[in-house]
Amino acid sequence: MSMDEKKIRLRLEHISQSYVVKNEVRCAVDDVTLDVYDNEFLVVLGPGHCGKSVLLNIIAGIEKPVAGQMFLDGGRLLKSDERIGMVFQKLALMPWKTVMANVEFGPEVRGVAKGERRAAAQKYIDLVGLTGFEKAYPNELSGGMKQRVGIARAYTNNPEILLMDEPFGQLDAQTRYAMQEEIMKIWEMEKRTLVFVTNNIEEAVYLGDRIVLLTRCPGRVKQVYPIGLPRPRDTVDPQFLRIRKEISQNTDLAL
């Protein structure tokens, strides 16, 4: 493993975010400094409402931080960038678009010709196993299938860095395990830099190359854990359980 040789893609420097709510300053993210390496599966782990989603929103350009700077491949990152894609927590599939229209949304916005974007979308629809559902509307799909559409949509825009905001948070436990395997499979086939946010320790250890553990509100980096376990990982392997316990003991309780 050439961990030390890795190229830095995304760098966050002293990122802070806070809001004025009812005449009080509420801090959500406090002084987060973080490097994301090329093709790495980085998991941001933290208790509920600790500002992990805010952090992703900042990287995606949905929110502007009150302080700090971000760099993508050395250049300053000031607003949403084509090289960064996102899978949303609440799916955010547009109910008025079919699966195909949802998936090809990114290229469509960029003005890619219909034939070309259809082909790209079809590739990822097939990859996530939704072949045959191109004309269905999101309302007709199950929770897991909807999230597959969300993943296909993000991939179809061909981003170099993919942000995933608790994508499986609203799935039942069974579907969640299946989707974790699925995402691992896709990541290994289509290598991208992935930043994955979750509040589930097992999920974090199962997926991540590295885990960034945040504190409870406001979110600060508490510790970074490199996970050297070979893949596919076994969730009842003693090594796995040891890491899981170690992180678990260091995690703040969500309130």
């Binding site: 004025v20 009150v66 000031l78």
Partner: protein, 281 residues
């Protein structure tokens, strides 16, 4: 934007709050001025259009004339035969009679229909037949049956207010959470107890929405009723304005009708807040 925010970070918390409040105040002020500008521009344009004879004064009177007429009309019964105050009272009387009747009949009927299936099955067809007939088209028959007095107009107003009262009470009580019903059942409550302890309170929000629609409907229908069958009231007043070719009377009537409608909506909103305070939490 980015620069402002970055500088904001260097401030202390108190200063940040002050800055934020200042910015908020500024935008509120800006949009309020924009709204006032829009309204004023309209009034000024209107005044000028008539003063410069762009629009003949036979067709339109200026806002100032209307304000003037408002004062005169308070004590002058010409041309429709009543002073403004009497016209307003007469209209209010009709509207509230019809509206009140619609509430007293429509809401309980809707609640019972929504709760008791048998009653629903019996009443539903009759209601579905009456519902699509616009209240205005009842006017001729009503005149034949009841003349042009208070009763006739109240009947027409009743029709327009009755439908939303009933529908909303019906849907409202239908949406009662099954969980709450089950809780009451396990406590041994009878069907009727559940109906008035759980069903009725659950339907309040919907009922209120219906009442709001009903009030708007009754006020709108009132105007029609008074134009077709009346000898006083605001609708009658604007109709006379038409007959005597007095645009100022018509516009005054329109403004008064609109304002009373707004006051109604406001009062109902206050009442709703008072009664449904728990909703806001």
């Amino acid at each position: 934007m980015g620069d402002i925010q970055e500088s904001a970070d260097r401030l202390g918390n108190a200063e940040r709050v002050a800055l934020d409040q200042g910015r908020k105040k500024k935008t509120t002020y800006f949009y309020m001025m924009l709204s006032i500008t829009g309204l004023l521009a309209f009034l000024v344009l209107w005044q000028f259009a008539v003063m410069t004879n762009l629009v003949s004064s036979r067709f339109l009177s200026t806002p100032l004339e209307v304000i003037n007429l408002f004062v005169v009309k308070l004590s002058d019964p010409f041309p429709d035969g009543e002073v403004l105050g009497i016209n307003i009272l007469s209209s209010l009387n009709v509207a509230l009679a019809g509206f009140g009747l619609a509430i007293v009949i429509g809401i309980p009927l809707g609640l019972f229909m929504g709760w008791y299936r048998g009653f629903d099955a019996f009443m539903r067809p009759i209601f579905e037949i009456v519902r699509p007939i616009p209240p205005v088209s009842w006017i001729p028959l009503t005149i034949v049956w009841l003349g042009i007095g208070l009763q006739a107009k109240a009947f027409i107003v009743f029709f327009s207010a009755f439908v939303p009262c009933l529908i909303n009470a019906y849907t409202g009580i239908r949406q009662t959470s099954q969980v709450l019903i089950n809780v009451a059942k396990t406590c041994g409550a009878s069907n009727f107890t559940i109906f008035y302890r759980i069903g009725i309170p659950s339907s309040f929000t919907m009922v209120f929405a219906g009442v709001r629609v009903a009030l708007g409907n009754s006020w709108a229908t009132l105007v029609a009723a008074e134009m077709l069958a009346a000898s006083s009231g605001l609708g009658y007043m604007i109709l006379m304005g038409r007959q005597f070719a007095r645009p100022d009377i018509i516009i005054l009537g329109i403004v008064v009708i609109g304002s009373i409608g707004v006051i109604f909506t406001f009062l109902l909103g206050r009442l709703e807040n008072r009664l449904l305070g728990w909703k806001r939490l």
